[in-house]
Symmetry: C2
Subunit: 335 residues, 2 copies
């Protein structure tokens, strides 16, 4: 679990630590990766970009400073990280991960718990997108989760898919737990995790509604046939969300990376239904107290980024649903 | 839903609002309560007491200031509130709550969404406990949840029970969703929500383990026979919690109102199991990223404070389990 890498405070796991030891020498159960690219969590990048008014040089300096200070890319404001891709450099004799030097891999655990050292000062990055070309080293523990990159997808595309691969896998599981007709609304249906969740819900047999923020996004979702229905609403406005969804749904999936989407999701969900929160901007008290205040008998799930087989499941969706692949490709190209 | 009481920002529900209109004049679907007592959320009171080094006068001044500024008791740091008891003063002609003037009631929705005006400056309160004798008015909306106080329990006792009544009801529901032998660990098993959750889990057929912070609490739980097993561990130390629980359990219930308990709860839970987070100090990103980082296939629930029938269910537990009643009575008397 990487306990030996925790510098402070003592006794916590690497994710909860303020500072990790990112030195490149590995223990017997560890693996060292030569870093090629970081992919910041969307909520984290948004916070940094807004803080610095879009000034890329300042964003870059702050990210480099966080990594230097904490030994990991763990945004202290949002609490979130991201992922990375790289090439396996050295494998400890007792590593259970089944890797060998030269493997091209993506980490499927958060950067918030991955010891990371940057050696190029992030000089290849303009600070204006979530994807950061970078040089340095990262460490995997015995209990890490890692995916070998698929041959048929560009590494940047695979990284973008892996970054959100927990969402479609969990959506699939929850849809299948309900009997009879299941309806699913996805807040942020035009985004990465949103489009994958829509595709997963439909393939699991649900009728789907995408809630998106403007007509441009609505047109994209309609053109790709990603959902059975599309509506425009500000996800932070509970009444607007409830009106856009119409008849309350069995399952609402929150994929909008801005604060304040808890109450709309709860209002949109039928009694006995489930809200799955995937946005790292979700407020625990706002969700808990909001449901109580609305007397809403809904199950609220913290979107777990790990579901067995999630990476393969998400890559399979990208291969099977052209509109999803197209959306990811344009997102990656747009950066 | 109380939308007309929201002063700023516009368009959000009362819980998410910065400021509410707490004026005592009621609309047709509202009810006005003459306030008798407030019960602060444990996480909120702890934060205030620690901030002011236990100086009761400063705590009192800050609580009075929050209510004056926000029109509700909504701790801006913890995001949590509490509950209140009072007497119904006036019932709007279209209120669906079935109340009449003179009814002694407790609000079962959070103070974070309850318009509140205090008229005695909280002068009867020493600032040293969660229970605040107070005079003033509070407003209920059409969709509020309210409980008429039971005749056989002291109002202070009923309020303390109602404050945490979502926990045992949801624990009961989740235990019954699993087939076969179910094991339940409760972090903070010697507290209010913890002891009720232990009692609910056992009555639903589970084998229970209480995790408590010291030998004094362990002795109290043992003496009352509240759990099948008792162990002492710091809930913020994941490795210590996992060792105290031993064989990973089906369900872990988190009732410890301090930050940093997410990872221990995840480690203590078996694959396919469920973690129910009831503490308002729970961090959404720490839970989501922690489970991912540990490759833990567990379901993580945001403890919804509303489950139909939750108040009656909790009061029934207090009546049926003498050790729970004794614990609540000593907690109330201790303040």
């Amino acid at each position: 679990m990487g306990l030996r890498r925790v510098l402070e405070p003592a006794g916590v796991l690497p994710q909860a630590a303020w500072r990790l030891d990112a030195s490149p020498e590995i223990a017997a159960d560890e693996v060292r990766i030569a870093v090629r690219r970081l992919n910041l969590d969307a909520a984290s990048f948004r916070q940094l970009a807004e803080k610095h008014g879009g000034d890329g040089a300042k964003v870059r300096a702050e990210v480099a400073g966080i990594i230097e200070t904490r030994g990991k890319m763990h945004n202290p404001v949002t609490g979130s990280g991201g992922m990375l891709i790289g090439v396996v450099e050295e494998v400890g004799s007792e590593s259970p991960l089944g890797l060998k030097p030269g493997d091209r891999v993506a980490t499927l655990v958060s950067l918030t718990l991955t010891p990371l050292r940057i050696t190029d000062g992030l000089q290849q990055w303009d600070g204006k997108s979530e994807q950061i070309p970078a040089e340095g080293t990262a460490i995997l523990f015995g209990r890490s989760v890692v995916g070998v990159l698929p041959e048929d997808l560009e590494p940047e595309l695979a990284l973008a898919v892996y970054d959100v691969c927990g969402a479609p896998a969990l959506t699939d599981r929850i849809v299948r737990e309900y009997d009879g007709e299941v309806t699913v609304a996805v807040l942020g249906g035009a985004g990465k995790s949103g489009s994958l969740s829509l595709a997963a819900a439909r393939l699991a047999g649900a009728r789907t509604t995408a809630i998106v923020r403007d007509e441009t996004e609505a047109a994209a979702v309609r053109q790709g046939g990603l959902a059975d229905a599309v509506a425009v609403a500000d996800a932070r406005n509970p009444v607007a969300v409830a009106e856009a969804v119409g008849e309350p749904v069995t399952i609402t999936v929150v994929c909008v990376d801005v604060p304040g989407c808890e109450h709309g999701a709860i209002l949109a969900t039928a009694p006995g239904g489930t809200v799955i929160f995937f946005s790292m901007a979700t407020s625990f008290p706002a969700a808990a107290l909001g449901a109580e205040g609305l007397a809403a008998d809904v199950t609220m799930l913290i979107g777990n980024g790990f579901v067995p087989g999630h990476a393969e499941f998400a890559v399979d969706l990208v291969r099977r649903v052209p509109a999803v692949r197209q959306l990811f490709e344009s997102r990656v190209a747009g950066h």
